[in-house]
């Protein structure tokens, strides 16, 4: 199951239904989806949900660190997310904050490899205010070079706050080595040298805005308590003047990996050893079986109910945790396997056990009962995330950024239902090979207490 869905575990729904196989309920997503495309290309998706007086408004920009194709510009999508809070001529930074404060909104943003999302949760009464200030900054963002440079300090601070956690460095090293040309070579934060150079990139920031913050590259997602006609009236009022762009992205694709890569990473501070492996996997596609089959396979191999988990975590207790899976990406990315090993002397043993389980998955069919249990788990887990406007908007944003089509959520869960044991063995053989793998082994430097 995807990490996104894990994040939703803590949420408790109050209006969800579990699809039971009738024609009407074949779709996993239980709420009606309205989709309108404005003349300028803006994708407007609205989902009525029983949350009286509450509304979630998300703007999804289909640009993330994947779009950072030029050398020296890694991390720019994320940096730009910060600049979007720096104001316009109509609403300065302070005026923007004051308006959000006056409506008591929860407002923030995040950037991923493939997209950037700006989200607001507030009273339904504040809908027009939200659309006013959001449309304004997407069309008319304006900041000084001084503001730009100051914000670069906050980005470095964000990098720094994450740095003490070795997971970040492991992931940096893994990606840097696993990819040759594709922009997934760097993380969303970007290479440190590029982050340090950000204060000098004011002109490029204007280019970045001009390229990607365009209606045809964005989706506006509204979930909660609203009237559709009134909503569309307001959307047209505030977004119709947004001008289309014309930039096309050409992301360099990598050639297939031909040999295994292994990196030993010493860590200065105290830590348990960690083994992280990335197999070059498929990209997201809601019409082909590969990605959903990899999701199910990750449950077979690495979930808490897997044989490997039971052996390494519960019985022999060689590792503190192990997990594996692949996040949805627009282009082929990595199927990750991570294990935190309790004792350095067991690293090779743990690697061998992982290899053994993967090889077994290529030739030994999983039982029908086990497959049914996994499908049930995935279905319930998905449904449990749909309990509030923000959770729903997040889910829909995820699929809209991947394909532009919110129906992808139903398509992909429909594919899950069709997965067979042969599909699982097929993708295991296709993707989980040593020559297709990059491994980072992190151990504490000698001499650290």
């Amino acid at each position: 199951m995807r990490f996104l869905l894990y994040l939703m575990l803590c949420l408790v729904p109050f209006a969800l239904v579990i699809a039971r196989g009738s024609d009407e309920s074949n779709k996993i997503f239980p709420y009606p989806i309205n989709q309108v495309t404005l003349d300028n290309g803006l994708n407007v998706i609205s989902i009525p949900f029983d949350s009286p007086g509450i509304i979630a408004v998300w703007t999804v920009v289909r640009a993330g660190s994947r779009n950072e194709v030029e050398p020296g510009k890694s991390g720019f999508a994320h940096f730009f997310e910060h600049m979007m809070f720096r104001g316009t001529e109509k609403y300065s930074k302070d005026a923007y904050n004051e308006m959000l404060k006056s409506i008591g909104a929860d407002n923030n943003a995040f950037t991923t490899d493939d997209y950037t999302a700006y989200h607001t949760l507030a009273s339904s009464d504040a809908l027009e205010t939200i659309l006013d200030i959001e449309s304004d900054r997407f069309m008319n963002l304006k900041y000084t070079e001084e503001d730009f440079k100051t914000e670069a300090g906050a980005i470095l601070g964000e990098y720094n706050k994450n740095y003490s956690n070795p997971d970040m460095t492991i992931y940096e090293k893994l990606r840097e080595n696993a990819f040759e040309k594709h922009t997934y070579k760097h993380t969303t934060m970007g290479f440190l040298k590029d982050i340090q150079d950000m204060p000098n990139q004011y002109q490029y920031s204007l280019t970045f805005f001009d390229r990607w913050y365009r209606p045809e590259n964005c989706a506006l997602i509204i979930v909660g308590d609203f009237e559709q006609a009134k909503l569309m009236e307001l959307v047209k009022k505030y977004y119709s003047n947004w001008k289309r762009g014309n930039y096309t992205l050409d992301v360099p694709l990598d050639v297939p990996q031909k040999e295994e890569k292994t990196i030993n990473l010493p860590w200065k501070a105290k830590t348990l050893p960690q083994v992280s492996m990335g197999y070059r996997g498929p990209g997201f596609n809601d019409k082909e079986i590969d990605m959903p089959a990899m999701d199910v396979l990750s449950q077979v191999l690495f979930s808490e109910t897997s044989e490997l988990f039971n052996k390494l975590v519960v019985e022999e207790q060689l590792v503190e945790y192990i997990y594996g899976g692949q996040q949805d990406h627009r282009d082929p990315e990595l199927f990750m396997v991570d294990a935190r090993v309790k004792d350095k002397s067991n690293i090779e043993r743990v690697r061998a056990e992982i290899d053994k389980a993967i090889e077994q998955a290529k030739t030994t069919p999983v039982s029908a009962e086990r497959l049914a249990s996994i499908k049930s788990h995935m279905k319930y887990l998905f449904a449990m995330g749909l309990d509030n406007p923000n959770g729903i908007a997040r889910t829909i944003s995820h699929y809209v950024q991947l394909t532009g089509n919110p129906e992808s959520v139903n398509n992909i869960y429909s594919l899950y239902e069709k997965i067979t044991v042969e599909d699982l063995m097929g993708v295991a053989k296709k993707y989980l090979n040593k020559t297709n793998r990059t491994t980072v082994i992190m151990t504490q430097e000698e001499g650290q207490q």
């Binding site: 408790v12 009286p52 008591g104 601070g157 105290k270 348990l272 979930s303 207790q317 279905k379």
Partner: protein
């Protein structure tokens, strides 16, 4: 849908879902329930009125160890792995949250599987397996958390925990929620069993349930939990935290790229007191968590780009480090609270300046208070914003139980009630009465070998100019001249440099 004015509609959002809400305290076990017949989910929040403060001396962490062996262990019928396999197809989950005063077992399930889930959940609590294998696995987790994660891989959390040890040096709150390394190391499975027998009693259990459960379940809960020993709840006595004398600093050394800072002092009020709500508004103005509303955020990050974020709190707030949740955390109530300022890691060369900048703003805040205009804007914000906090039945249940812990009405309603009659004069008087910028404890996490340098710089009040990566406006530079020389009265005798490995040891 029809629209009502903002405040009332948001209020109704929470209420509309609920067909029954009451505290059923008759019978042996206390039960708080929020029944919503149209909810397909059921959430359990089962609170044990015991936390780290109940761990015996020398066995620090025993409370957490016991709770985790239960929540991540087996039942007398089923092994841990069999429990996991049962839960898996339902995507149901059972978690535990440990804290100083209470321990909360949290379970969520779709009502399709309620009966079977309830049996598992209560079997874990009432008939735990206490398997040696589960114990050793959980103990390893706890020790790794203290020895590696907390001391090494999360500087922000380390700073917060270091501040906690300073604020409560000779107080039951002094340890982490997971105790100490030595306490965990010496705890045995027999200790766990003994602690369970002594602590998991009818008087200590408090059952919270929300969602679409059958009403008959309440009677079953009462019956099932009546098998526990009938020992009444008794509170651990809390002394007053020791007074702080000027600025007391602890510099913690570990390999670090940037330096994390936490500072604060104990507070003598909680959600029960009226003045808490005055401070809630004042604090929102000064340092609202993860927003650009606060003075601290705007002056340190917004104007100067010093770091990623700067916030303040008038009660324990555990969200924000490794948590995506930006609203006040659930089920971490304390009888004694504290005020704190959290500066996310700054560039090493700006550490002294950042501490000065925060204390400079803190002083201005206490001395000048809020203007009438700032007060009105902030009050309106908190009134609206707090209505977003209880967006699910599970969260509402959590806030309700916390309110009962403090002996007050439902938190979100209390905020609404108190703020509507609050005046700027009351807020500023509360700020002056409860917040103290002169007597503060400060924890700073720095790179190895840098501790004495930072400490000496602070003690000697050395001028500490900020180093900018790029120019800022003249008016900021003008103010910097004052801040870089802002006098800090460090209590040299009560300040020290320590190694991270020395913390949380015993």
């Amino acid at each position: 849908m029809k629209r009502l004015p903002l405040i009332s509609t948001l209020f109704l959002f929470a209420m509309a879902l609920i067909t029954l809400f009451h505290e059923a305290s008759q019978g042996a076990i206390r039960i708080t329930e929020i029944h919503s017949s149209n909810s397909p989910l059921v959430t359990f929040r089962v609170v044990l009125r015991a936390g780290e403060i109940n761990s015996p001396a020398g066995k620090e962490g025993l409370n957490a160890l016991t709770a985790y062996v239960i929540a991540q262990g087996g039942t007398q019928e089923l092994s841990y792995q069999q429990v996991v396999e049962k839960l898996y197809p339902w995507a149901a989950n059972i978690n535990v949250q440990v804290d100083q005063e209470i321990t909360t077992f949290i379970g969520t399930v779709h009502r399709d599987h309620l009966d079977a889930f309830y049996k598992l959940f209560t079997d874990l609590l009432l008939h735990p397996r206490f398997d040696e294998s589960d114990f050793s696995r959980v103990k390893d987790l706890g020790l790794n958390y203290l020895k590696n994660s907390l001391r090494s891989t999360s500087d922000e959390q380390l700073g917060k925990q270091a501040l906690n040890t300073m604020l409560y040096a000779n107080h039951p709150y002094k340890n982490t929620e997971f105790g100490t390394v030595q306490g965990l190391t010496t705890s045995t499975l027999d200790d766990v069993k003994a602690y369970y027998k002594k602590t998991y009693t009818q008087g200590n259990f408090w059952f919270g349930i929300a969602g679409g459960y059958p009403k008959s379940l309440i009677e079953k809960i009462k019956t099932d939990f009546s098998m526990l020993p009938e020992v009444p709840f008794s509170e651990v006595t809390l002394p007053k935290p020791e007074p702080i004398n000027n600025l007391e600093v602890m510099v913690v050394e570990k390999p670090a790229r940037a330096f994390a800072i936490s500072m604060g002092h104990p507070l003598s009020l909680t959600r029960k007191e009226k003045d808490f709500y005055a401070l809630l508004v004042a604090n929102s103005y000064f340092g609202e968590h993860r927003t650009f509303n606060g003075v601290l955020m705007n002056r340190l990050r917004g104007d100067r780009g010093l770091n990623y974020g700067d916030y303040s709190y008038v009660e324990k707030f555990v969200g924000g480090v490794g948590s995506g949740n930006v609203f006040p955390e659930l089920n971490t109530p304390l009888r004694q609270q504290f005020f704190s300022i959290w500066l996310r890691p700054v560039q090493p060369e700006n550490t002294h300046f950042a501490i000065r900048n925060a204390l400079f703003e803190f002083k201005n805040f206490v001395e000048q208070g809020l203007s009438k205009e700032d007060f009105e804007k902030t009050k309106k914000f908190v009134l609206n914003y707090s209505k977003l906090w209880a967006g699910t039945l599970s969260r509402r249940l959590g806030y309700q139980m916390d309110s009962e812990f403090y002996g007050t009405e439902y938190f979100i309603d209390r905020i609404d009630k108190e703020l509507k009659s609050l005046s700027v004069e009351e807020v500023n008087a509360a700020v002056k009465k409860y917040l103290d910028y002169k007597n503060v404890k400060i924890a700073v996490v720095v790179d190895e070998g840098k501790g004495n340098e930072i400490m000496n710089s602070m003690i000697s009040n050395m001028i500490s100019p900020i180093k900018y990566a790029s120019p800022v406006s003249p008016n900021i530079l003008e103010q910097d001249k004052f801040i870089e020389a802002f006098q800090l009265s460090i209590n040299k005798e009560e300040s020290k440099v320590v190694k991270a490995n020395e913390l949380f040891e015993k």
